[in-house]
């Protein structure tokens, strides 16, 4: 596979995962604040600010974060870049993948030129999440499990791990001190919902939403596809398959991703201690950065 093509697939996977993640966090942060009656304005603001920091987004109105072409971190930019990457490798991805992505691109452009009222933003975000899900399905159903597929998937799970890790690490210390008693539960519920994890968590822990159990679930759960552990294991798995195809050049990459996965597989919340979770996650992010750099060197830069 051409290095340039592998690179484009990797980033396509990342951008589309990012669209889903960012759209959900924005939507949840906005709606959680509406759902819970007695949220005081300060808690609301700090929730939103926390989310934006975790997403590396500027403190701007949601509409701008969705539609602004000139804001490089906006959702429309992520979709555009995913599409540009796809356009570059159209002969590698399936017609269906291209048609779907192209459609998602045009529909967000159209929504923007039509104008979207504040009250419809949630619907727009929901549409983007659905587009990303649909993309996964289309890719799943129409792509041969070849080298290109591996890079697409590594990109997806690296982005998921990166996005979730940032979000959880920013939120791991709980709400700012001195807030009303309700702010504690608002905080953890918002975090669970931001990772689409509320229902799955409730099945395991129907009684309570508290710091220790939430962090344990989001970081270490083995079965839930949006836990950090799950994403890390998936990334490592694809990196290993990639190394099988490419021989010695892929070994270092395989090892780096495998190490990250092991950290998460062979630890639990008691070991890192809930108070040290943020630090643990920051270290993990550092390792993820190094693994990605290795990946780039091994496969994309010839």
């Amino acid at each position: 596979m051409l290095s340039r093509v592998a690179d484009a697939l990797f980033w396509m996977g990342r951008y589309l995962e990012r669209v889903e993640h960012v759209a959900r966090v924005l939507d949840v942060t906005r709606s959680v604040l509406v759902d819970i009656d007695e949220v005081d304005p300060e808690t609301a603001k700090s929730q939103l600010r926390g989310a934006l920091t975790a997403l590396s987004l500027p403190d701007a109105p949601t509409e701008k974060l969705i539609f602004d072409q000139n804001e490089p971190t906006s959702l429309v930019c992520a979709i555009s870049r995913a599409r540009e990457n796809a356009r570059q490798v159209r002969e590698v991805i399936s017609e269906e993948m291209w048609a779907h992505l192209n459609q998602a691109y045009w529909s967000i452009q159209e929504a923007h030129s039509r104008g979207v009222h504040e009250s419809q933003l949630s619907q727009t975000l929901g549409g983007l999440i659905a587009a990303s899900f649909l993309w996964d399905g289309v890719a799943d159903g129409t792509t041969a499990r070849d080298t290109g597929w591996l890079f697409l998937k590594i990109g997806k799970f690296v982005e998921r791990l990166d996005g979730s890790c940032r979000l959880v690490s920013v939120r791991a210390d709980g709400p700012p001190k001195g807030g009303p008693p309700s702010s504690e539960s608002v905080h953890w519920v918002a975090l669970l919902r931001s990772l689409c994890a509320m229902e799955a968590y409730k099945k395991l822990h129907p009684q309570r939403v508290d710091k220790k159990h939430v962090l344990d679930f989001l970081i270490f759960d083995e079965a839930y596809p949006r836990s950090l552990r799950y994403a890390a294991v998936a990334a490592a798995d694809f990196a290993q398959k990639c190394a099988e195809i490419h021989g010695p050049r892929g070994k270092a990459v395989e090892r780096a991703f495998g190490k990250i996965a092991s950290h998460l597989e062979y630890a639990d919340i008691d070991e890192v201690d809930a108070t040290g979770a943020a630090e643990f996650l920051r270290e993990l992010l550092g390792e993820l950065g190094e693994a990605s750099a290795l990946l780039q060197r091994a496969y994309f830069l010839q």
Binding site: L2, S3, R87, V89, R90, E91, W98, I245
Partner: protein
């Protein structure tokens, strides 16, 4: 949809109607279908087609348009029909022409007999901007220079097909032909089945075979790549489409590197040798060592690898000398010279500004001529005398006198017209036709080709960069096979259009 308010232009040939307003026999079933459809049905089909094309990403890029660089090629849903008998003649003419052009290139870069015999003026050849002295003395694999040719044909006032120009460098548009057939088949499903239309499906296979034919390595699966300038090029859609359809790797210059005399591509598994490059970048950009030193679209050392035979290029560099507009008038002579045959397809009468008599004629009759710059294309650098202002004519007179090598002139031809949906009604618009000719172990012609249509009323310029659109072209099966269906309602003796 009404056909009786369709206006015929007495000056030009209409493909659907005779001068007296009768529907031509092969068009009867189509005309009947159109009469049965309401205007909104036609518009709905056009919208459906546009949406299909847009969602498939069938776009081209316009550089000067700030509103958005990607555009859907305006598509007209009324298909153009050509009978099998007429097509057979065109096909023979094209094959003859491309064979002569290929022999001309071999001669010009080889023995130069045609120049020594004084049939073609050597000055014009050496002065052509497409002439590449680097090609002298080098014979490309299998002696093929022009693997892929797109010849532009027009119909004159009598309805005869004439050759307007040859495109032998890297003609584009074949992907639009295939995509628009796929779309029209869906939009006019029943009608398409009624007609016996010659299929286009084999094009990608033919293209692949044409390229395999020149592979330097005899192996089971030589590596074919399509070299594109990248996704910002106006024809990028086509590059990716063709690569996908023929199972070639789409590469950019930065993906290639020359190692140990061979061209290789950079892959996730290291370097991988390339056998055939279907290049869609101009000669100038192929190799910064030999051609333009500032080019980053090509690959350093590529030309040396080509000359040594380590890699094949399609088309060969230097083919531009054969489609130079000042060489074009000599093509009929080339056919006689190399093949000993009379040309089957005629040229448009052309005046060459370097010839004293011709120049005098051009300068005196500029108002009735079409002036073309010999090294320009895409409808640029052109003056249509009948539609020009006095200042424009003066400007062109000055330019012609200053640089006669750069100009030719042709009589303004009233291009054949074809009914086209304009604001929900049928109106006649000028069309041309670009069939594609593939030169491999044999020479093959795609049945039909790209019909471009000048959407502006009265315009003679069909280029997409100048507001042109396109149509599907249906070449009907030959006599004896299922060609045009018979139709009883739109009878032969009832005029449907406004006769003149």
């Amino acid at each position: 949809m009404k056909l009786d308010d369709y206006e015929l232009d007495p000056k030009s040939y209409d493909e659907m109607f005779t001068a007296s307003g009768l529907v031509r026999p092969e068009y009867r079933a189509l005309a009947q279908r159109l009469v049965e459809m309401t205007q909104s049905e036609v518009e709905q089909r056009q919208r459906q087609a546009d949406l299909l094309l847009r969602n498939q990403g069938v776009t081209f890029t316009v550089y000067s348009d700030n509103a958005g660089i990607e555009k859907v090629f305006p598509f007209d849903p009324i298909p153009r029909l050509i009978t099998g008998e007429e097509w057979a003649e065109v096909e023979r003419g094209l094959i003859q022409r491309v064979q002569a052009l290929n022999l001309f290139l071999k001669d010009v870069y080889g023995e130069q007999r045609i120049l020594n015999d004084g049939v073609v003026d050597a000055g014009l050849v050496y002065g052509a901007s497409g002439f590449r002295r680097e090609m002298i003395g080098m014979l490309p694999p299998q002696s093929v220079y022009t693997h892929i040719v797109g010849t532009d044909l027009i119909r004159d006032e009598q309805g005869r097909f004439l050759v307007l120009e040859d495109n032998v460098r890297s003609p584009s548009g074949a992907s639009y032909v295939l995509e628009c057939r796929a779309v029209l088949k869906r939009v006019f499903r029943v009608l398409f089945d009624q007609y016996g239309v010659q299929p286009l499906d084999a094009y990608a296979d033919w293209l692949r075979e044409t390229l395999l034919h020149v592979s330097p390595r005899v192996s089971d699966s030589p590596t074919i790549v399509l070299l594109s300038p990248g996704m910002y090029n106006s024809a990028y859609f086509e590059h990716s489409f063709l690569a996908r359809r023929m199972g070639a790797t789409l590469v950019e210059g930065r993906d290639l590197v020359v190692k140990d005399g061979a061209v290789c591509m950079r892959t996730t598994n290291g370097l991988c040798r390339v056998d055939v490059i279907y290049r869609r970048i101009d000669d100038d950009y192929l190799d910064p060592v030999v051609f333009r030193p500032d080019s980053i679209l090509g690959c350093a050392g590529l030309f040396a690898a080509y000359r040594s035979g380590a890699v094949a290029l399609a088309n060969a560099p230097g083919t531009g000398v054969a489609d130079d507009k000042a060489i074009y008038p000599f093509v009929p002579d080339m056919i006689r010279y190399y093949l000993g045959e009379e040309p089957i397809l005629e040229n448009v009468r052309t005046y060459i500004a370097t010839r004293d008599d011709d120049r005098k004629y051009i300068l005196e009759n500029i108002g009735s001529l079409c002036i073309k710059q010999t090294d320009a294309s895409g409808g640029y650098g052109m003056l249509i005398g009948t539609q020009s202002t006095a200042e424009q004519r003066d400007e062109f007179r000055r330019r012609i006198e200053a640089r006669p090598r750069s100009y030719i002139a042709q009589p303004v031809i009233n291009l054949g017209r074809h009914p086209t949906v304009i604001d929900g009604k049928l109106e006649g618009r000028c069309v041309d036709l670009r069939p594609y000719v593939l030169f491999g172990d044999k020479v093959r012609v795609i049945p039909g080709g790209l019909t471009r249509v000048a959407l502006r009323k009265g315009s003679l310029v069909v280029n997409s960069s100048q507001g042109g659109g396109y149509k599907d072209t249906w070449v009907l099966a030959g006599a004896g096979d299922k060609g045009a269906p018979t139709s009883d309602k739109a009878s032969a003796d009832k005029p449907l259009a406004n006769g003149v």
